[in-house]
Symmetry: D2
Subunit: 347 residues, 4 copies
Amino acid sequence: MVKVGVIGATGYVGTELIRLLMKHKNVQIEAISSRTYDGQNYDDIYENYRDVFKLKCKDMDIAEMAEKVDLIFLALPHGIASKQLDKKILEKVKIIDMGADYRLSDVDNYEKWYATDHGSKDILKEAVYGLPELYREDIKKARIVANPGCYPTSSILSIYPLIREGIIDENSLIIDAKSGITGAGRSVNLATHFTESNESFKAYGIASHRHTPEIEEQLSKFSDKEIVLNFTPHLVPMNRGILTTSYAKMKVEKTYKEIKDIYDKYYGDEFFVRMTKENIFPETKWVKGSNFCDIGIKIDQRTNRIIVIGAIDNMIKGSAGQALQNMNIIFGFDEKEGIDDISIFPI
Amino acid sequence: MVKVGVIGATGYVGTELIRLLMKHKNVQIEAISSRTYDGQNYDDIYENYRDVFKLKCKDMDIAEMAEKVDLIFLALPHGIASKQLDKKILEKVKIIDMGADYRLSDVDNYEKWYATDHGSKDILKEAVYGLPELYREDIKKARIVANPGCYPTSSILSIYPLIREGIIDENSLIIDAKSGITGAGRSVNLATHFTESNESFKAYGIASHRHTPEIEEQLSKFSDKEIVLNFTPHLVPMNRGILTTSYAKMKVEKTYKEIKDIYDKYYGDEFFVRMTKENIFPETKWVKGSNFCDIGIKIDQRTNRIIVIGAIDNMIKGSAGQALQNMNIIFGFDEKEGIDDISIFPI
Amino acid sequence: MVKVGVIGATGYVGTELIRLLMKHKNVQIEAISSRTYDGQNYDDIYENYRDVFKLKCKDMDIAEMAEKVDLIFLALPHGIASKQLDKKILEKVKIIDMGADYRLSDVDNYEKWYATDHGSKDILKEAVYGLPELYREDIKKARIVANPGCYPTSSILSIYPLIREGIIDENSLIIDAKSGITGAGRSVNLATHFTESNESFKAYGIASHRHTPEIEEQLSKFSDKEIVLNFTPHLVPMNRGILTTSYAKMKVEKTYKEIKDIYDKYYGDEFFVRMTKENIFPETKWVKGSNFCDIGIKIDQRTNRIIVIGAIDNMIKGSAGQALQNMNIIFGFDEKEGIDDISIFPI
Amino acid sequence: MVKVGVIGATGYVGTELIRLLMKHKNVQIEAISSRTYDGQNYDDIYENYRDVFKLKCKDMDIAEMAEKVDLIFLALPHGIASKQLDKKILEKVKIIDMGADYRLSDVDNYEKWYATDHGSKDILKEAVYGLPELYREDIKKARIVANPGCYPTSSILSIYPLIREGIIDENSLIIDAKSGITGAGRSVNLATHFTESNESFKAYGIASHRHTPEIEEQLSKFSDKEIVLNFTPHLVPMNRGILTTSYAKMKVEKTYKEIKDIYDKYYGDEFFVRMTKENIFPETKWVKGSNFCDIGIKIDQRTNRIIVIGAIDNMIKGSAGQALQNMNIIFGFDEKEGIDDISIFPI
């Protein structure tokens, strides 16, 4: 049994992670850390764990937890992990960071978009971007994995084959994204007060959301041009799910069938990426509660644009599930272990 | 008192219209027609009208109703109005058609996108597109007004000043639209079954929605180029509201202030179009239940695109409210009469 | 024009009140007070008021506002009004208190259930309970009206005729109540965070909710027995609406028709109380956005119980609308002025 | 591997069952039957099964399926199973009926409440009511199990210890129940159209719901009196979950601690029944997606009533999960196999 710990165990990402880890047959949750709930029983915080999960939260930093476990999941606000982590810790323990500190390999970009210093630039160099469908081989050898943001997971998986194959005009990309409200986390504020967000729809972070440089950097790695794009997130009055609608001009003429074959080339063997049938498009309900990313494509001949719809569960493929997938790869477990549930429907 | 009638009185558009007409001080609802509910009390169909609205539905065609009233509102599926209407009727009565039959002035376009013959091409020629902010003077003199579609109302109002002033590249336009489920009407089907649409988000009508040619035709009228664009509607799990996120490349360099001035030039005197302050963007909750269209703009210097957010209540400014606005213009009433309520919040 | 002021203008009750007052033809809103938003434009706080309501908030206490207006609406947490009000103020201005301080005429009961001292027991004696259907004549002459709680409005109106006529066993009453989340107000907390309350249902305040003694006291006034009952509120994942399901043993044998006649005796002339037809029952959607209270009754011969369903909009008949109704009575306006809208449906 | 079949595989209960059966390590789904979708791939009907479940639907009756499998789950409207089943089939195959035909042991009661003849009264005699916490030993030996209704599961588990121990007045019972909309199934109709049920709350089946006699019959079996009670279901605008609020007069004086001990006596060893801590009460979100039934109790000394809150997932403990639990008992599997997931939160 691999021993794991979770730091930031009482946020939504943390609790989703614990739920999935409990189902994993090769893993034992050894320690959970929370500053706010230090000393409290986990099932007093989250009643769904009542009688079935008995750990107490304890406030621990990364170094302290590194003495107890084989792998640590970090579910922390940006800026904390990079200041606590150092090379000595990485010699003792594997790290999967679900926060933002190691996602951008360009430090300047990080410091500009996140408006804070990066505390461990040396470690940043070795961090592997944890999108298994793109970086599986690197993840196998990684000591530290930067788990992707929720929006980038759906956005990059949707567009990656088109960029790799030079199908689209790199500077024509527009990603219009929509997320359920779990994406905003558990901290209360007026914008996520029930009666302020229920039965309403809005955009936010227009031309300024921090997932923009993450998507740009990743797609640029597979292009000979530097990609600059528009990314606009919106808030959907529902708990979970991300849907991304991506638009790009086609540089070459292709049929649906040809484009579909390209996606199959990259994702045909990927369990967690599913292509919908022609003229069927992803809906968040079909992936909610699962680690799948569903993708559907449409070519609009009138405008010569391709439209790609991607859908994920923001808490699973967009966060905790992908973290488990990365753990499975690191330890050589079956990549699906613990995360092979399909969506519960209707839920 | 102007006598009005409603044909298609028991759908969602019909019932919203009756609610607004009841509040109008210069109007008397003389007759309401419904095929399905012929002979039934209106307040047995919609319990919110209990004890306060006493008319019975009667199945009547347009010609029959034209004998009784000064103006008829049509809330019918496409293809019916164009077959019932003729010039003789128009000599007796004003028509505001909330359906699609007279929205496209290009008959071929209509017949292609709606896959049906147009039954009264002669009348189509004189129909005025009922977007008061663009066509107020024509509406004053019109015998027949084609009330715009819900998505076109928000889309066109959002983009119109940019096209008029030649600010944007005409072929770079992408409109990513999101609507509450009232847009789908009252007819039951699996897609709008509560448990199939609640807590999920999806696109539909991708590259094929019938509001596309309507938006293109209207914007093209104010451009020297023929505009072809991408329009993608999505379904939001909420009752009401449309938000459109529009993207276009800027042809000229402009500051936020300069663009804002352009919008003010066109909408500064318009009661029902409101510009949000800089970096504040429309949310559907602020217009729900009202006839307002809120618009917010953002210039993204990184991509040289302008992003315009528009929000309306799809049942009011997107349908019944705009119909009343048109009626007010036709009869010379105060344009706000009956439709000056602000949004109820939170509702 | 009557000049009115609102203290506590930026909570949900305050903003609903301002919306309704704006529609009232005999009233001018002279001043609005808010501690939190002192000095801010109201339409910067609530964007639905953008461009149509131009007042600024100013932090004022009751005495200060009493110099400026004819009537003050108080929308304050309990315990504040009773400490600020005094007889001198009442000589200058009418008060409609939408808080709890003057609802219970039994001071001991108030101090026990609200766990605070009452600051103006002398004024409490003259306060009139503002349920117009029961106390219209007293309200006409009142200087201070205690606007009822949301749950009591639906509960008392549902049960009152049965108590008045001695139909039910006074100690068999159980009121199982359900409310939308606006009832919890605008202050953020974990329980009303979107993702904590959406798609879930729970009871709260079981056997301890402060509206219990209010219902008991009012019903007891019309009975020769002191009524002690069970009242259980529940939270429904929706914005607005209260539905109360009340159960009581029948002391006498009555048919549906006979019971219906009793309700008609009390409510037949009441515009805002509507009886549903037999075997049709209230739903919150039919009253949402309106000042109506819909009531439906069912006699269960198997158990000899009567079940009464009541539905109101908690923000309107349950709060701001009823406050306007009381104002209309006090000043001799048409009782429906400003509050005669029917429900918008679907919204 | 035990071979199982599902008849009625494409309704909500059917699809939930298949999802759970796929996770079960001792079971193979051999055949799935659907009349409506005969010949179609299951993952073309439910996209969440895309690529991971490859069976086709085939229209089969019970006798035909009995040739292929060891156990059949029936998910059919009432009246069908009782007409298709006979003793010969029961010699070949075990049956778990998730419909209503074998839930009431009193045939007259069945025929009265369901307004249809019962087609196999001989089989009804041997059917075991499939509530494992009450009838585990009988289920072990059963050839046919009548899986309880969703409301009865929560209602009976909530009240059973109080009846067994003679704590409450048998004729004082009132069960006020609330359900998410999956309870209404997948057939479209106006009442469950999104915009008709969203953001509204209502009661239905008042004093006439068919789960009433089921609850009465079961509770009466453990009492020396025949229990007649009020049961009122309500529809909550959410997908899943049932919460029952039960009220009864106490015949004897007991403290919370004493009552809690009684519940622990019956449920202390039951994995799927969880008691909340004192003054913590069940919420549907904590059981949604799980097979748990959470129960919380409150004694109101003012009224001498006990209030019991029960919560289940109507599709799992209220239907498909309980069916699997029964299957596990019949075949001697670990009772938790396939159904030990905790609630996903927030979802």
